[in-house]
């Protein structure tokens, strides 16, 4: 089977500058004094990952272990300091639900705006409009400004928009922990739907049970390095034992 995601030897370095240097004066002073040494911080160290087409791959690890960073590198939001990340096919990143929303606009306006943020045309969005409204159960709030929504409502709308067309690759970052139980079930069903349609899924979840339920392969990240990767069961067992 061909790969949908190929990450090779990715290192991601952040400058943890204690003081932000964002004025020219500071920059010049520090440059002269040779104080421009940022405290460098490696959020990912030489991480490689191949995900086959149609696979459902989970990422686990403690907070700050670099899961979101890896997802952002794969989505193209972050450019890795070293190494490469390639994806094959259309990609729908759910890094943060409602990221493209303008809180001052109504749900209806945001559906179109968010659609174009994701690269969909207005015609495509018009076609899917009813489906989005139905899935997010926001029929009565469609002309209400999104700033008046609860976080669960925002998440519902964001998820409905992002999964409206079947992407080749779906990237999911802990979003399934927002919203109520019913919505989580609905999202899971939607993801399973996409999976059976051949979409490759790469997901991060708080809930190890969810990972066990959905994923075939799992990678365990620890302080930016791969602690363990492979078939779901052994990795999850090891991770659970570690957490205890």
């Amino acid at each position: 089977m061909a790969n949908a995601i190929e990450v090779s030897n990715v290192t991601m370095r952040f400058n943890m500058s204690k003081e932000r240097v964002d004025s020219i004066k500071e920059f010049l002073i520090k440059k002269v004094k040779r104080q421009l040494r940022f405290e460098e911080f490696l959020a990912l160290k030489d991480v490689s990952l191949n995900v086959e087409q149609g696979d459902v791959y989970g990422l686990v690890g403690l907070n700050g272990s670099g899961k979101s960073t890896l997802l952002k590198v794969i989505s193209g939001i972050l450019k890795p300091t070293k190494g490469t990340a390639k994806t094959y096919g259309t990609i729908s990143p759910l890094i943060e639900l409602g990221a493209g929303f303008d809180m001052d606009l109504t749900a209806r306006e945001n559906i179109f705006l968010n659609g174009s943020v994701l690269g969909y045309s207005h015609a495509q969005m018009r076609e899917k409009f009813d489906e989005i409204v139905e899935f997010s159960e926001l029929q009565d709030f469609i002309d209400v400004a999104v700033k008046n929504f609860s976080s669960g409502m925002v998440a519902r709308l964001g998820f409905a928009i992002a999964t409206i067309t079947k992407p080749d690759i779906l990237i999911v970052d802990e979003i399934l922990s927002v919203g109520d139980f019913l919505f989580q079930q609905k999202c899971e069903a939607r993801i399973q739907d996409l999976m059976s349609g051949g979409t490759t899924v790469l997901m991060v979840s708080h809930s190890i049970e969810q990972i066990e339920r959905l994923c075939r392969h799992v990678m365990w990240l620890d302080h930016g390095t791969i602690r363990m990767a492979g078939e779901m069961e052994p990795v999850c067992e090891a991770y659970k034992a570690f957490r205890k």
Partner: protein, 263 residues
């Protein structure tokens, strides 16, 4: 290359949506809404004309003796440049939350600010038409060429906008400096006065280094005077714009991957 054009095509709706949203935000809760794009330059013109023509006795130029029209044609172009580049300068920082969470080609943001300012410019041209009618200014056929200087100014503004947007990500002082620069630039551009009043050749030479001077002159020639600018004027306008565009694109491309670490 082909891929790049496809991506650009794919994101044209985003460009359109963001422009529309900026328009909506700009005129939100104002009774007259878009009319302000027309009223604002007209009211400014009344103020400036009162002060400069009637109090200080400044005339227009030899060829455009109507000071109000002389001022309005210059100020419309200047306002476009200042609005577009000022917006582009802040655009990356303004859209930082989006840039951190979704993948979007980043040049969309400065480009969108220039498009937004351009739409405003097109609306405010109605102000000029109104003045033509009030003053019964003779209309020449060359007026149909008005999009040409506007296009030159647009190319220039995108280039300068990309440069400013890049610099501002790393050094926020650029924003403060630029607002001072805009004021200086306004006085250094023949908007209120005519360059023909000067006799010092060195001064005239320096003033002509300002690309804005050429766009405004071009615009005045086709819209008011009724003359088609020659090859030299066209080359100066086109090349000055392209030089800025190329520098802007190269600079932006070189640093865009690092933006996210500074916003």
């Amino acid at each position: 290359m082909k891929e790049r054009i496809q991506t650009m095509f794919r994101y044209r709706f985003l460009l359109q949506d963001l422009t529309m949203r900026d328009l909506r935000v700009k005129y939100r809760r104002s009774v007259l809404g878009m009319l302000w794009s027309i009223l604002n330059p007209l009211l400014m013109m009344v103020v400036i004309t009162t002060v400069f023509q009637h109090v200080l006795k400044v005339a227009g130029s030899k060829e455009i003796t109507d000071f109000a029209i002389f001022y309005l044609t210059g100020s419309l172009i200047y306002n476009f440049i200042s609005e577009s580049t000022g917006g582009a300068l802040n655009s990356i920082v303004q859209y930082s939350s989006l840039i951190k969470k979704v993948y979007i080609p980043k040049y969309i943001f400065p480009l969108e600010k220039c498009m937004f300012a351009f739409v405003n410019l097109l609306f405010s041209l109605i102000a000029l038409v109104i003045m033509f009618i009030i003053r019964q200014t003779p209309i020449h056929w060359t007026i149909v060429l008005f999009p040409i200087p506007l296009l030159y100014a647009f190319i220039f503004s995108v280039g300068l906008g990309l440069i400013l947007a890049t610099l501002n990500v790393f050094f926020r002082d650029v924003g403060h400096l630029y607002s001072v620069w805009l004021t200086a630039w306004m006085y250094a551009t023949p908007i209120i006065y005519d360059i023909g009043n000067f006799s010092n050749p060195a001064l005239i030479f320096v003033m002509k280094l300002n690309p804005l001077y050429h766009y405004i002159t071009y615009f005045r020639e086709v819209a008011v005077i009724g003359r088609v600018p020659g090859l030299e004027a066209n080359l100066i306008c086109l090349l000055s714009g392209l030089v800025f565009l190329v520098i802007g694109l190269l600079l932006f491309k070189k640093f865009q991957d690092r933006f996210i670490l500074y916003i």
